[in-house]
Symmetry: C2
Subunit: 475 residues, 2 copies
């Protein structure tokens, strides 16, 4: 029986293959018969459930309420906002027949719900007392993908999408950043540092005035767009007629935001923390936080298993699993759970039983330790915190050390990571960059938006630079 | 400003209109632009969230794990099981175009996921150690409806669907009943008694060997199918090739179950508990369990609101809301929250502040009481339990008193409720019953399945009766 660790391609050899191998060997997900759509298996889904539970709590704390709008959207609604339909039309899946008949008007599966919700917002919002309106939904959306990738780029994905309407631009702009802070906190919970700032004209959401993004650096130096928050201005309010009477009885357009985070975040966890041995999960979202591996020898199974169960009881506040599979060696089990990224492994054999100790192995740094049984609950608690922090620190150091300041576009070659450069912010220069180097602007970091560029000349065109931006290849 | 209570049609006048009025006036849901699909609003969705949270816990306790399979299903998969496709083909919504192109093979939006999952089950299940496989998913499904009704019959609905595979028929049959007990417990949590038993050949799930159902009686005497659990036998295993090698190395087919509960349960809560004043929610799933209405007079608002907040603090384990809306009379607020079914209302005016008391109103029975502030947390706790029990008792008494034993089909006329009758169990007699009386068999109660019929003659055909069945009109 060859172990699952041996089946993982080293990151340095082929990162893309490494990712596929980890998704498979950690038993997270697989592709389905429906091209572009994936099947998420129990272990992978549990990670998403734990992420979702945390974000759900955070969103509720902001006062937004959950709703459910239909999966299907009249095509005419999608066409109402010109930029929006241009952005999404190529990715739509269209229902033409239903209930045994051809539909008079085809319906699209929602690629996002602005066009599904905002006609109703126009009905619900009449006066200033109806504002702000802040609703959220957890659902599935569909954007037809030609080049699917597990979690990061499937045609169908699960996410939450929040949709807010405010009386004023100021309130909307406040919330668009507030929700981005919610996402930053969520990523912190995943031990992942993010780069936050606004998107360029080419990269913003189709139909938005401004998009703010949280960008994650994968270990191959590419960017993962981890979450976005959009200020939609009055673009949709105009086409869907979302007006309200203000205190003076004047008709006004609402200012809107939408914000979303999907199970791409699972992909980000894999790519930001994983190593050549597989997943490394932060304890906060590890489906199993502690795995106990009994080492059975010479018929001591009763004694050892009894001790394992005692330990499990002592750790009842954690998600603990005893691997009792028979006819499988402890070594095989060690590999198995390392690939699955379980933060802490406890190895229990005759020696541990006798000495009332436990052998503790940390997945994040490979350290081993002997812990007295009496100290175990307290020790594991400390170790969990430490792993969470260590993963964050490692990811932060990696990110920081892989942002390269460049003055000329030619410097991009052969460097792994993100690039910081002074940029003219023109669409033409970004198109050129994409074509020649496959890289795009990722964000204008918030603090950089208030500073002059380090270099007066644009790193691509040599023309006047406006700000220092972050660039990268992206997933 | 006319209050929302006045807009509700009395149940006795027109129950169907009463239901629509309650859904609207309690602000639960509304219809959408997409015919047959609904929009669930925050208050309605919160009820579903609370139901879901409870059922999620119960399902997890049985050891089933959550997964996610694609929304879209190849038509060929649906066609594999003959009875299954006959049952669902008329209700399918079909995607013919995606990503700007016509698809070579059309895809259906899942009406249920047997056909979406079981080819993969065939891959995952190889040997007896892969069994049992017990997976569950929370998702949206689509069954095109010609006559939609909020929550009970929308084209798109949210639900959970569990799919299990076992080595033996015995294990499968054990689980199919086990999961029905999970649903019975869930309905008990909703203060709703259910009638549990197996379905007739005409009424069982398309493709199943046996369907067990939990039937709820609405206050108009009609039946709501509240949850179902199906023993699929080896029907799907045969067509999808789900085999395993047993301990002797023999190839065997698996025995399968599927079981589901949807947001119809919200409809059941409305129809089982509601009265002419609107919703009556069991405390377990009331989005607001206690509403506090301040009675402001002669500028005493600070004092009264301060007292309200103190009370809210004392009740912090409950979902409490203070209705601080200005320029709205207490009487209007009373009606408003009664329609929304809030179990307990506390009325706080100058008198209550002075006497350190609280006026407590119970939605379930209309009783009012004065409670000393010091006793409030304890008293509210007792009242909550009592309301939960009282709603269950009322529903149980209503159900019991509306099951009519009949010996002849002609007795059906003008009677509201369910009917118990001795039946020959033939498809022809059921078809006749449906056509002439619009009623169908609901369940063969478990205990009745082991007894001989009270009457030897079938109440429809006069031929030999097999068992005593429950019949009713159904939603």
């Amino acid at each position: 029986m060859s172990n699952n660790k041996q089946k993982i391609t080293p990151q340095a050899e082929n990162f893309s293959q490494w990712y596929q191998d980890v998704v498979k060997e950690a038993d997270l997900a697989e592709s389905s018969e429906v091209r572009g759509s994936g099947i998420v298996k129990p272990y992978g889904f549990k990670i998403w459930k734990l992420i979702k539970a945390q974000l759900e709590k955070q969103i509720e704390e902001t006062g937004a309420e959950d709703v459910y709008f239909p999966l299907l959207v009249p095509i005419a609604n999608l066409e109402a906002e010109k930029e929006h339909v241009e952005g999404f039309a190529p990715e739509l899946a269209v229902v033409t027949h239903a209930g045994g008949e051809k539909l008079a008007n085809s319906l699209a599966i929602r690629p996002t719900s602005e066009a599904a919700m905002y006609k109703t917002y126009a009905k619900w919002i009449q006066g200033y007392t109806d504002l702000p309106l802040r609703l959220n939904q957890w659902n599935n959306v569909m954007r037809w993908e030609k080049r699917p990738r597990a979690f990061l780029r499937w045609s169908e994905f699960l996410w939450q999408e929040g949709h807010s309407a405010f009386a004023t631009k100021e309130e909307a702009e406040k919330e668009v950043w507030q929700m981005m802070r919610v996402y930053e906190d969520l990523y912190k919970y995943l031990a992942i540092p993010v780069l936050v700032g606004r998107k360029s004209e080419s990269e913003k959401f189709a139909g938005a005035e401004m998009t703010i993004s949280a960008e994650v650096m994968a270990k191959d130096g590419k960017a993962i767009q981890g979450a976005t928050s959009h200020y939609l201005g009055t673009n949709f309010a105009k086409v869907f007629g979302i007006n309200y009477l203000d205190k003076l009885g004047q008709t006004q357009l609402v200012h809107q935001n939408s914000w979303g985070l999907s199970w791409r975040s699972v992909g980000a966890v894999i790519m930001a923390h994983g190593d050549d041995n597989g997943l490394r999960l932060p304890p906060n979202i590890a489906p199993i936080q502690v795995v106990i591996v009994p080492i059975i020898k010479d018929g001591n199974d009763k004694e050892v298993l009894q001790y394992c169960r005692e330990i499990q009881k002592n750790l009842k506040k954690l998600r603990v699993h005893i691997d009792q599979r028979e006819n499988i060696s402890p070594g095989y089990k060690y590999n198995y759970w390392e690939v699955k990224g379980v933060p802490v492994r406890l190895e229990i054999g005759a020696q541990e039983v006798q000495s009332k100790q436990v052998s503790l192995f940390r997945r994040d740094n490979g350290q081993r330790d002997k812990v007295d049984l009496a100290d175990l609950p307290q020790e594991v608690k400390i170790v969990m915190k430490d792993i969470q922090q260590n993963l964050f620190n490692q990811a932060q150091e990696f990110t920081k050390s892989h942002i390269h300041r460049i003055e000329d576009v030619a410097e991009i070659k052969d460097q792994v990571g993100f690039f910081e450069a002074s940029w003219s912010e023109t669409k033409e220069s970004e198109a050129l960059l994409k074509e020649k180097y496959s890289i795009t602007s990722r964000v204008l970091l918030s603090k950089k938006a208030e500073q002059k560029p380090k270099n007066k000349k644009c790193f691509i065109t040599g023309k006047e630079a406006k700000h220092d931006w972050i660039f990268a290849q992206s997933y």
